[in-house]
Each structure stands twice: as C-alpha cells, then as structure tokens.
Amino acid sequence: MKFLDKSLVALDVNANSPEEAIRETGKLLYESELVEDSYVEAMVNSFNENGPYFVLAPNIAMPHARPEDGVKEACVSFIRLKEPVRFGHDSNDPVQLVFGLGASSSDEHLSVLQKLMGLLGDPANIDKLLEVNNHDEINHIIGGN
C-alpha cells in the first residue's frame, strides 16, 4: 500500500480542466509504477461517463477507476491545484485538492480508504492541506513517515 508517499504528492499543479487534473493525479501513480497507463485512461473515462460524483466534499475530488482497469497496488496520490477547477458538481465545486485513488481488490483497498477518511474527516486537516509548503508538512498532518 502506498499512501501519499513523497513521489505521489505534487503541490500547486497547473490544470485547466477536470480531465487535466485527473490525468495529473493518475500520472503520479503511473510514474511510481503503481497503476498501468490504462488505469489513468479509465479514470478519465469514468468522469466522462458518470460525471463528477467523486467530488466527495467541498474542494475535494477523488478520481478513480476499477481494480481491473490496471492497479498493481492499493495507492493514493495527491495534487493541490494552483487554481481551483470546476468539475461541474452542484454543491462541492470548485476543487483544489485532488486525491487519485488506485482501487485494488485487496484488503489494502479498505485500509487506504480508511487512511484517507481519517485525514479528510477532520475539516482542520483540509485547511492545512491548502496551506502546506512541502511533503514533510503533509507527513506531519497524516502522522506518518
């Protein structure tokens, strides 16, 4: 399981559309060899087909696809967008924090989601993620290393 490791985090990324933002989160997972490139395409396709329902909360999106689309290991990446992007969600737009989920069919899938919920369930953490300057500060918030 890989959860917001240093290579999976990028701050103040430029993206002009939901698709670009989704591709940036997917790229981090792909470059760390945690997902196949087909998975990144599937993340974009899911958005095009099912809409922005994965904008889970104000400011927060969690694009993902299915395990069979090409996930090697349960994982979560994170990008903070330089400028917020509108995903077309009625109540939670615009989005600045994007978490790319590599959904696996293993027990680790549940574990990474629980970690993500632990992080985002506390509104104070969301405020901090909007302010952090580097990966060390993110580690401090998630209490990991």
């Binding site: 099912n50 329902y53 994965f54 909360a57 104000p58 299915r66 109540s91 989920l101 993500l116 369930g121």
Partner: protein, 89 residues
C-alpha cells in the same frame, strides 16, 4: 432487518467511503441495519429500504422503489445523520 445501499458510479471507492461513514452514523443513532455499497447500474436491480447517494446520481435512480437519501459531503457525518433522520421519520 433494514437494508441500506450506498451508491456511486463504479461501486469501488466513493460508495465505500459513504458506507463506512453511514455505518458510523447508524451506530451513533442506535439503528441496526445491513449496509452495502454498489454502482449505480447494479442498484437499479435491487430493492433495499434506502439508497444513499449524491444528488447527481439520484437523478438516474428516479422512479426507483427504494427511498432515496441524498448526501452532498461524504465526510460530513452530521450531514449524513440529518439526511437519515429526515428520511426515516
């Protein structure tokens, strides 16, 4: 037992997060229910007592026999609790 289905587009990540938070809220409310998660097309073929989903996806479930409960912020357990209470009374 009461059956609740949490629904998202793929039935993989989003609905599982919703399900875990719904289970937490139900425990707090002292309600015993069977909670599952699935994708929106599978949900059409099921008939739980309640379907919990986002406003957007609820539109593709229009006319479904289950009572539809809408949640916008999946991390806000207070919102989930209020939505459940409003629909269960």
């Amino acid at each position: 037992m009461m059956k609740i289905l949490c629904v998202c587009g793929l039935g993989q990540g989003t609905s599982l997060i919703l399900r875990m938070n719904v289970e937490t809220v139900l425990r707090e409310m002292g309600i015993d229910a069977e909670v599952e998660n699935t994708d929106v097309s599978s949900a059409a073929a099921e008939s739980p007592d309640y379907i919990i989903t986002s406003n957007e996806l609820s539109q593709s479930l229009e006319g479904h026999s289950s009572k539809i409960v809408i949640v916008n912020n999946y991390f806000d357990t207070e919102e989930i609790k209020t939505a459940l209470e409003a629909n269960m009374n």
